[in-house]
């Protein structure tokens, strides 16, 4: 396909798989987290929010370094995985998923949190006075009213995981079919001075990213014009 060899294809499929798994997991994790952040008055709110958003500014290699230590035999995650009989998570796909969860967390939590904050308390209270229990309220009020937030979160989480490099390099290394994602493969090609193959991968990622952003902005402006039309 388009001149990609099997190794590039493997890297592409692995990258898509990683992004998909991470996005689904992050949506599940971020929903309660965003809810708590948008509603809590606890003093813990600020430190937790800071921790979650830390990957926005932290060099990915720093995050990767600490995760590598944590997953090592001396680290807490490594200890746990050894005890559970999974073995070390470093340099494995699972390890990559864990790393990406931390790395992309803020990109998923923030859009959901913003949507929940702008929804406010009132629709929830109204639903409660109409006999809707908590689970009922989640599906009939929160999900539809925060739909745009959830879609934005999914797209951003997916796209951001696609482009991951530093964390992968630190904790995943470069194992074809296991941890060798697109960005690492691209780096490999450049290192080997194989510019034509690097070009193809870079162009592919550029196109993927552009399409993602196009979809996202299309969604937003679509929403805006729909509002004007009264839908």
């Amino acid at each position: 396909m388009m001149g990609f060899d099997s190794q590039d294809m493997t890297a592409l499929l692995l990258t898509l798989k990683l992004a998909l798994v991470v996005t689904v997991l992050l949506l599940v994790i971020s929903t309660p987290l965003a809810w708590w952040l948008s509603r809590s008055c606890s003093w813990l709110r600020a430190p937790v929010a800071a921790l979650i958003t830390l990957p926005l500014i932290l060099p990915p290699t720093v995050l990767g370094f600490y995760l590598l230590l944590a997953m090592g035999p001396e680290g807490p995650i490594g200890y746990l995985s050894e005890r559970l009989g999974i073995g070390s998570l470093a340099f494995s796909f699972t390890g990559l998923v864990i790393g990406s969860l931390f790395y992309s967390l803020p990109f998923v939590v923030q859009p959901i949190q913003n949507a929940m904050e702008s929804m406010g308390e009132r629709p929830f209270e109204v639903a409660a006075t109409l006999r809707a229990g908590p689970i009922d309220r989640f599906f009939t009020v929160l999900l539809p009213l925060c739909r745009t937030g959830f879609i934005t979160a999914a797209v951003l989480g997916f796209a951001h995981t696609l482009g991951e490099f530093g964390v992968v390099l630190m904790i995943g290394g470069n194992i074809p079919g296991e941890t060798q994602v697109l960005s690492v493969q691209l780096y490999e090609h450049v290192e080997a001075l194989d510019y034509p193959r690097a070009h193809r991968l870079a162009a592919l990622m550029l196109a993927l990213s552009f399409i993602t952003m196009l979809l996202l902005h299309g969604l937003r402006s679509g929403k805006r014009s729909a509002k004007v039309l009264g839908f």
Binding site: P123, E125, A128, T129, L130, G133, L145, K227
Partner: protein, 347 residues
């Protein structure tokens, strides 16, 4: 219902009749909304709350809002923006109690048939509030809580929606708690009045009684008025007038479509009542009734004072200048004639 609470400095303990419209009345910041939200279970305060025999809150037990057989009409538009009018109504219908009224019945009552397919943002403020009231009724509540449902509306929209509320209050057999700071709405809708001041119950009793004691209107304001109940006794087709009789006299008022024999609620503002010492017939004023002065307000506000007049078992208020009172030599116990310039049928 008993409710002693102390959060937000709210300290209220009372029981309410279960078959009537009770207005929770008071200036803004007096805790009206907080009280209503605590009753709904939307907010928690320390205390006890019983509805009939059912315990809604006691000690650590607190029944969550969605388990309480209430309905709540919020101050501002609270329709779900992602659902149409029909969708909003169906949301309630799907979760309704068995005794809930039929959709068609409620849609008729609030005149919503033409709006069913509209989105909330296509409706006017008054229409939105009508839909919200309909949605509240459709859940089949055993207690209807309304938090200033008209306060976000201008006078025209208020006038448009008040008749619906009146029909609702008269027709429904569910108790209604109605939060308001408008004397006008209270006069028209309430039977019982609970007055809050700084989180404390300052007065509690029948609306007519409290109105008469002038506790709900600022002394000297145009809101000072009396409310009395009268029955349509006679209809004069020639002059388009109806005679409304009460224990102590009868009043001629403009006849609209009140049925013969029906009971009406009349509001007579103190500023529309003047006093004369004799019943002379050379005046344009239609209603001149003999009565006796039972009280003269002592806290004179500026130039005005308010007289309480007894007519049979009913009472009226008259707002006069102090000069007139002095000039006519009016004192408590005197028999005089009340000239009533205007009477409003409010129900």
């Amino acid at each position: 219902m008993a409710f002693p609470g102390d959060k937000f400095a709210l300290d209220a303990e009372f029981s309410l009749p279960m078959d009537r419209v009770t207005a929770i009345f008071g200036p803004s910041g007096s805790g009206k909304t907080t009280l209503l939200r605590c009753i709904a279970g939307l907010q928690r305060a320390r205390g006890e709350l019983f509805f009939g025999d059912a315990c809604w809150q006691q000690g650590r037990h607190c029944l969550p809002c969605h388990r309480r057989p209430i309905a709540y009409v919020f101050q501002e538009a609270s329709l779900f923006p992602h659902l149409s009018v029909a969708g909003n109504l169906r949301y309630a219908q799907r979760r309704a109690a068995p005794q809930a009224p039929a959709l068609e019945e409620v849609v008729d009552l609030l005149d919503l048939a033409a709006l069913m397919s509209h989105r909330p943002d296509q409706l006017s403020g008054g229409e939105r509030q009508r839909v919200a009231i309909a949605r509240a009724l459709l859940i089949g509540p055993e207690l209807l809580l309304m938090d200033e449902p008209l306060s976000g509306l201008d006078d025209r929209r208020k006038a448009e929606i008040l008749p619906y509320l009146e029909t609702l209050c008269r027709a429904s057999n569910i108790p209604i708690l109605y939060v308001s700071h408008s004397v006008d709405e209270v006069c028209r809708l309430a039977d019982t009045l609970l007055m809050l001041e700084n989180g404390n119950v300052s007065h509690y009793g029948p609306m007519e009684e409290l109105l008469m004691q002038q506790v709900i209107a600022r002394p000297g304001s145009a809101d000072v008025s009396a409310v009395l109940r009268a029955r349509v006794n006679r209809i004069d087709e020639q002059w388009q007038l109806a005679e409304l009789a009460f224990n102590g006299g009868a009043l001629w008022v403009q006849h609209n479509d009140e049925a013969l024999g029906s009971e009406q609620r009349l509001r007579i503002r103190a500023q529309d009542v003047s006093i004369s010492l004799s019943a002379h017939g050379d005046s344009s004023i239609l209603n001149v009734l003999p009565c006796s002065i039972t009280a003269i307000s002592d806290e004179a506000v500026g130039a005005m004072q308010v007289l309480t007049l007894q007519l049979g078992s009913e009472r009226l208020l008259a707002r006069l200048t102090r000069r007139s009172i002095d000039h006519l030599g009016l004192t408590v116990g005197m028999s005089v004639f009340a000239q009533i310039k205007s009477v409003a049928i409010i129900r």
